[in-house]
């Protein structure tokens, strides 16, 4: 079975969760998995297909989350409109950041550090002003109803999240079968080589980071609608950035279903570690770490590689 087939089966199986799972706990668990899968996919667009490893994807997640929260709470803007504005603005921030960074040819570790720095700056700034909720964070007033993008039934949130993840996989598949994707992958593989063939590397990477930022911001918006609360540590903290890159890397960098598989495996392992160790505080993290090390030792190119011989962007090529 190829990675793509396994991913599709997993995706289809996840659609059944709200109709099968009755427990509120497990429904929330799988909802969170889907959110992180889409966040990982957003990282994967830039990091996996574009080869630009961001260490500060929290910047974009937080941009979406705080953008929509501020617009709703401080300016009374409708949740849908606020979400759309927040996503658009974050995409623009991503493009601007990308232009500055790529224009001056920052790559590799330097790119990672710059993104981390921007996320940290955003975290500190957001925590410093009353307008942005200060140290406490922002509470979106409870007002259930489809008009406010707030649903009593968590299953509706779940189905929306599932649709996002499916959309994310389609975006990745589009990248593997389009001119833009081919150019992005070419830039990842060899920037000079791509430029010699008429590819504008700066433009290509700026578009990729804008798309990636918009996707991450969408998760942020969704997060706020689901929990009705966000603070600077959750939204802009390094934890969110690590979550974004970890699910993509564990699942399989630069593969369409890698982030989904990574999110499922990672959170299943995390939950398993908790169940096994019971109440001993911190012990679950030790076990989780050991499981991660084992995973990286035996499947260094991601869990997707457990299914196919050749996990890579290969339209037209025969899948193993």
């Amino acid at each position: 079975m190829s990675g793509k087939a396994a991913g599709s089966v997993l995706l289809a199986a996840l659609l059944a969760v709200p109709f099968v799972v009755q427990s509120e706990f497990w429904l929330s668990f799988w909802l969170l998995v889907l959110m992180f899968a889409f966040l990982g996919q957003s990282w994967n667009v830039l990091g996996g297909y574009g080869g630009q490893f961001s260490f500060g994807h929290a910047l974009f997640f937080g941009g979406g989350a705080f953008g929509t929260a501020i617009l709703q709470v401080r300016h009374g803007i409708n949740a849908y409109l606020a979400g759309a504005i927040a996503i658009t603005l974050t995409a623009m921030v991503g493009a601007l950041l990308g232009y500055l960074v790529f224009r001056y040819r920052l790559r590799g570790a330097y790119f990672a550090l710059v993104t981390l720095a921007f996320a940290e700056v955003a975290r500190v700034l957001i925590a410093s002003f009353e307008y942005t909720g200060g140290g406490f964070g922002m509470l979106v007033p409870l007002a259930r109803g489809a008009a406010n993008f707030q649903f009593d039934d968590r299953r509706i949130f779940y189905l929306i999240a599932w649709t996002l993840v499916a959309g994310g996989c389609l975006i990745a598949l589009w990248l593997e079968n389009s001119r833009f994707g081919a150019q992005l992958i070419a830039v990842r593989e060899n920037e000079d080589g791509a430029q010699a063939l008429g590819v504008d590397p700066v433009r290509t990477k700026v578009l990729a980071i804008a798309l990636s930022a918009a996707m991450a911001a969408t998760v942020g918006v969704f997060y706020v609608q689901n929990f009705l609360f966000v603070d600077s540590q959750i939204a802009f903290g390094p934890g969110m950035s690590i979550e974004a890159l970890l699910v993509a890397i564990i699942g399989g960098v630069g593969t369409a279903f890698g982030p989904l598989i990574g999110a499922v495996v990672l959170h299943a392992l995390g939950e398993l570690a908790k169940q096994i160790t019971g109440n001993a505080p911190g012990l679950n993290l030790v076990l989780y770490g050991l499981l991660l090390i084992a995973a990286l030792r035996f499947l260094p190119s991601g869990f997707v590689s457990a299914f196919g011989r050749r996990p890579k962007a290969s339209p037209g090529a025969v899948d193993a």
Binding site: A182, E189, D192, G193, A196, L197, G198, K312
Partner: protein, 250 residues
């Protein structure tokens, strides 16, 4: 088609290109030769936009392209290959060539079909689905050529596409380049393999220490005293001539 006028490029204290001028007319195959370190690669890089020249003009199809970004120069119809090949290692041969094909073909299907056609022209048709990382040196050189060719260039700059090939492979690539020219692509190439230069080029420029020291047909430049000295050292031409005279003496 291509006019280079008094091009200069310094790297610190070193003048890599020191006032070089050359012309390439449409339909020609022109060779640029010279000893190691003469500045051939820098001259190529300045023409194709990868290096910004300090002074001088590069005119391609009437427009000044000195200092223009490489991807824009490529879009105008001037494609280059690299002496150190630059494949997209993890992609298949077909996908590699398709990146070039996409320049004027937005549709994926069309680009892939064109990639296949180009692969046939350079003799890579049996390696289409192989990853570029697994190719031999000879095949990598062909891939480099194919990628550039897929952008539908009017002028092709080939930087030592035959270095490291055995004589049979050189003959094959020579035939490929002839066929490319027959299809209406003008070619400017640098080469150390004289077998290829002699059989391909109508005109030859000789570059030494960043300057063009001779130009003409292959036979005329190889007997030029300045060229012999550039390759073999000062006084070499004199010694060669005297030795020849001794041999011809009764």
């Amino acid at each position: 088609m291509l006019e280079v006028r008094d091009l200069r490029k310094r790297f610190g204290g070193l003048s890599a290109v020191d006032g070089a001028s050359l012309d390439v007319a449409e339909g020609e195959i022109v060779a640029l030769i010279g000893p190691n370190g003469a500045g051939k690669t820098t001259l190529f890089a300045s023409i194709s936009g990868f290096v910004r020249p300090d002074a001088g003009a590069v005119r391609f199809l009437g427009a000044d392209i000195a200092g223009v970004a490489p991807h824009l120069i490529c879009a105008r119809g001037l494609a280059r290959t690299f002496q150190i090949v630059q494949p997209f290692e993890k992609l298949s041969v077909r996908e590699n060539i398709a990146v070039g094909a996409h320049l004027h073909r937005p549709a994926r299907r069309e680009a892939l079909a064109h990639a296949e056609a180009v692969a046939c022209r350079v003799g890579l048709e049996r390696r289409l689905d192989q990853p570029a990382a697994s190719l031999t040196v000879a095949a990598r050189k062909r891939l480099e050529l194919a990628k550039a060719l897929a952008t539908d260039p009017k002028l092709l700059l080939l930087d030592e596409v035959m270095a490291g090939l055995n004589p049979t492979e050189v003959d094959e690539v020579v035939a490929v380049i002839r066929a490319i020219r027959a299809d209406g692509v003008t070619v400017l190439l640098t080469e150390h393999v004289m077998q290829a230069v002699v059989s391909l080029a109508e005109r030859v420029y000789v570059l030494a220490n960043g300057r063009i020291i001779a130009q003409g047909t292959t036979t005329s430049v190889t007997s030029d005293a300045a060229v012999i000295e550039a390759y073999l050292g000062r006084g070499a031409a004199e010694r060669l001539r005297s030795r020849r005279e001794v041999r011809h003496a009764p």
